[in-house]
């Protein structure tokens, strides 16, 4: 009986993994500090893989957030041919080489899959203005510019701030903090007037009633309708376009292997992360953090990356953040 079960399991599981499987613990490389969105996502995947037995080898999270994530990029670049390291990437792969002249190009890595898209939301303190219109009016009327907190300099949050200024005519002074968590705490403590954190970064303080979401930077509302706070769900947040501020930005969350790995190794991870996206852990996480589900791989992924790269490049150029 036991033999039959083992055989059946082997038959079902085996074809996908034919050829290659990791023989060492797999390192999931996070290009950000502890507790940030990438780190949380990495830990979710680690748990999903472990609980559902998707891989024989254990997965370890390795934080390489030094130099605003450049450390992780250089680490992946120098690990050429090592199939036991996966990077959980976001738009820093386009932006860092432009702003800080890091000698890195994502085309040198092996793309595995795009697993989610992250939103950006305009938040203010719950004691502040209640709508985008009031917020913009208050920012324009203020004697000294409103302070906008964000993560890092010349990155997503900073770019969004520049475009917010262009579309509304209001002026902000942008304060670059080390993490989204810090930006959240500073908004709660009234040291900044607003931030453009990802949903996951402000989730806890929103639930605690300390901050208010004003609008989401996407062309459609977030789809999740179950209540997050006592009165509101993610779907209740209007888009910025609805509120008269036409700024849109989504950030990819994608998995990469180092360069020069074999197609079998790549195939193993494509399959692995495809299975991850079907687990309950992944689905829960997507809803809780208000992420947009997506799964792209192969040619589709490369095409997506090229287009996304072009968008980011033009935004960075327009904002004046490209290093000469």
């Amino acid at each position: 009986m036991k033999v039959a079960i083992t055989l059946a399991a082997a038959l079902c599981g085996a074809p996908a993994f034919a050829g290659w499987e990791p023989t060492k613990p797999v390192e999931i490389v996070v290009a950000a500090g502890a507790g940030g969105a990438s780190d949380q996502m990495a830990r979710m995947m680690q748990a999903a893989i472990q609980k559902n037995n998707l891989m024989k080898q254990p997965m370890v999270v390795s934080l390489k957030g030094g130099a605003s994530g450049a450390e992780a990029l250089m680490y992946m670049k120098s690990s050429e041919g090592d199939p036991n390291k996966v990077l959980i990437a976001y738009s820093l792969i386009y932006m860092l080489p432009l702003s800080a002249k890091i000698p890195f190009n994502w085309r040198e890595l092996t793309p595995v899959s795009v697993i989610a898209l992250d939103q950006f939301v305009l938040w203010d303190n719950s004691a502040g203005p209640k709508t985008v219109k009031e917020f913009v009016a208050a920012a324009k009327a203020a004697s000294s510019p409103f302070k906008m907190g964000g993560t890092g300099s010349k990155r997503e949050d900073h770019v969004l701030t520049v475009f917010l200024e262009q579309k509304t005519g209001a002026k902000f002074s942008y304060l670059p903090y080390k993490s989204g968590g810090e930006a959240a705490t500073q908004l709660v403590g009234n040291h900044t007037e607003s931030n453009v954190n990802n949903p996951s970064e402000n989730l806890e303080v929103w639930r605690a009633g300390q901050v208010r979401p004003l609008c989401v930077f996407d062309k459609e509302r977030i789809s999740y309708t179950s209540k997050v706070t006592e009165t509101q769900s993610w779907a209740d947040i209007p888009t910025c376009k609805e509120e008269g501020v036409d700024v849109q930005y989504l950030m990819l969350r994608a998995m990469f292997l180092p360069g020069k790995v074999t197609p079998e190794q790549q195939a193993f991870y494509v399959e692995l992360f495809h299975k991850v996206t079907q687990t309950a852990e992944y689905k829960d996480y997507m809803e809780k953090q208000a992420l947009k589900p997506i799964f792209l791989t192969g040619k589709d992924m490369v095409q997506f990356l090229e287009e996304d790269d072009a968008v980011n490049k033009s935004l960075m150029t327009e904002a004046g953040f490209v290093a000469k």
């Binding site: 502890a34 830990r43 390489k64 002074s173 993490s179 968590g181 709660v188 403590g189």
Partner: protein, 497 residues
């Protein structure tokens, strides 16, 4: 009495066999690390940190904080028996502890050190228990100017209150600040001083520097000076212990004063070392016969040890509530928290109650268990003395190298550590204190960011550092402390007349 209920909850989290075993393991490892010359608290915790990466946060912090308590207890052993301070703050313990050992009163000195450590920590833990809930709302008042003011206070108090020559402290601190600038600059998003090297991208890790500066350089010095550890045999009998305890009430003023100084300086980040010296100096100043200090007076052990432990313990409070480490070891624990996925800050007390109160409860338990453990195991640890230095030194070097490598899994860091070992050796030779250098390396970056963020926010107006009562009083206090020696001299002159 909300705190009391939460504390009981903390004990409930803690009282599982697994945690208790981890606690014992941590304490024994800690004492061992404390006894090994050249290691001590920060290094020990740094080296053993990766062991805890796979544990859940509560078990991990319990084990690490027990390593910390153990190392504090152990540090006193080397200070008293060998005249080698395990930590910067046990330096003051050697002033009277070592003479006592030379007079054959080692057991008495050790008991005094352990007991006063215990009392100091206990006072600080009580303070944490009842102040912690208030601290988290207080913490929200901290924006960039407030943070900068606190860092400024730390730097200034080092210069103003330190015992070393002022210019040497400033030199050491400036070098630390310079090296803290290596890597990515958060505010501008540009790279600085990396010279195109991928290894320098992530900046100079403070732990790597500490292991080299303290551990490796101590080995180099020992090799040069004596090639052997000299020490005195020690055993503790129940009679001696009870004898010291019976005399304890006589010294209540000293104990209370030192506890108070310790807690105050511990909560003000970076004060632990200053606390032990201040405790010692004040005990001396108020004693009836100050000239007997330094010749083996038991109060000379009580005062610095109580203050050092009170500050070492209360230093964890700003680390948890504000994310600002009050001591080297707290800075390492802070790194640990982040590795376990906990963000220290105001909301830690709200969102991770189990963790915070488990930690506070572990401070009570860890100290009680630790006291019993050190009193019973001193003879065993003291026997390390009999191992030839030639055998101990390579072991220490290897453990330092493993520690440096494990922090970021980078071979480059081992070379960096050796480099810092030589730097530390040279510094010790020419009498430049290492503590300000380390402090600047840990806080330099944050201080710079906080200053520049304040400037962006205020549009370049320095008045922002006096813009409200909180930031204004911290900044003013910082400047007063910086010029403290000048005031002190003026006062002395006036008194002379």
């Amino acid at each position: 009495m909300e705190a009391f209920g939460l504390l009981l909850h903390g004990f409930a989290v803690l009282l599982t066999w697994k945690t208790l075993v981890l606690m014992m393991v941590g304490l024994v490892l800690g004492i061992f690390v404390g006894v090994l010359p050249g290691l001590g608290g920060p290094n020990g915790v740094a080296i053993l940190l990766p062991l805890t990466f796979t544990m859940d946060p509560t078990s991990a912090i319990v084990m690490l904080s027990c390593i910390y308590w153990g190392a504090l207890f152990g540090g006193a052993i080397t200070s008293i028996l060998f005249n080698i301070p395990g930590e910067a703050w046990s330096v003051a313990t050697t002033f009277d502890g070592y003479p006592m050992a030379q007079q054959g009163r080692a057991a008495e000195a050790l008991t005094a050190a352990f007991t006063s450590s215990f009392i100091g920590s206990l006072v600080a833990v009580l303070l944490i228990t009842f102040l912690a809930p208030m601290i988290s709302s207080f913490a929200l008042k901290f924006g960039p100017p407030e943070f900068f003011a606190v860092y400024l206070l730390t730097f200034c108090s080092f210069v103003g209150l330190g015992r070393e020559a002022k210019h040497k402290t400033v030199i050491s601190m400036s070098l630390g600040l310079l090296l803290a600038g290596v890597g990515m600059d958060t505010v501008s998003g540009n790279l600085r001083m990396t010279f195109g090297s991928a290894d320098l991208l992530r900046g100079i890790n403070f732990l790597v520097a500490v292991i080299g500066l303290f551990g490796i350089s101590e080995i180099l010095l020992t090799m040069e000076e004596r090639l052997a550890l000299r020490g005195h045999a020690a055993s503790i009998s129940l009679r001696v212990v009870l004898g010291v305890w019976r005399d304890l009430p006589k010294y209540w003023v000293t104990l209370l004063r030192s506890s108070f100084i310790g807690c105050w300086l511990g909560i003000t980040p970076g004060g632990a070392i200053a606390a032990s010296f201040m405790g010692y100096n004040l005990a001396k100043r108020f004693a009836e016969e100050p000239e007997s200090f330094g010749k083996g007076r038991i109060e000379g052990v009580f005062a610095p040890e109580t203050a050092a432990h009170a500050s070492g313990t209360s230093a964890l409070l700003p680390m948890l509530a504000l994310g600002i480490p009050g001591s080297g070891t707290a800075a390492i624990l802070l790194g640990g928290l982040m590795v376990w996925g906990l963000n220290p800050g105001p909301l830690l007390f709200v969102e991770h109650k189990d963790f915070v109160w488990g930690l506070i409860a572990s401070m009570y338990l860890g100290n009680v268990v630790g006291l019993v453990l050190v009193l019973t195991t001193v003879p065993i640890f003291a026997s390390i003395l009999r191992v030839p230095f030639a055998a101990v030194a390579p072991m220490i070097v290897v453990s330092c190298a493993i520690g440096a490598y494990a922090i970021q899994n980078a071979m480059f860091d081992i070379w960096l550590m050796l480099g810092f070992g030589i730097v530390g050796y040279v510094f010790k030779k020419i009498g430049i204190p290492l503590a300000p250098f380390t402090l600047a390396l840990v806080l330099g970056n944050r201080a710079e960011d906080a200053f520049r963020l304040s400037m962006i926010g205020s549009g370049g107006d320095l008045k922002v550092f006096w813009s409200n009562g909180l930031v204004g009083s911290i900044t003013t206090l910082a400047i007063l402390l910086l010029f403290w020696p000048v005031f002190d001299r003026l006062r002395a002159k006036v008194a002379m007349r």
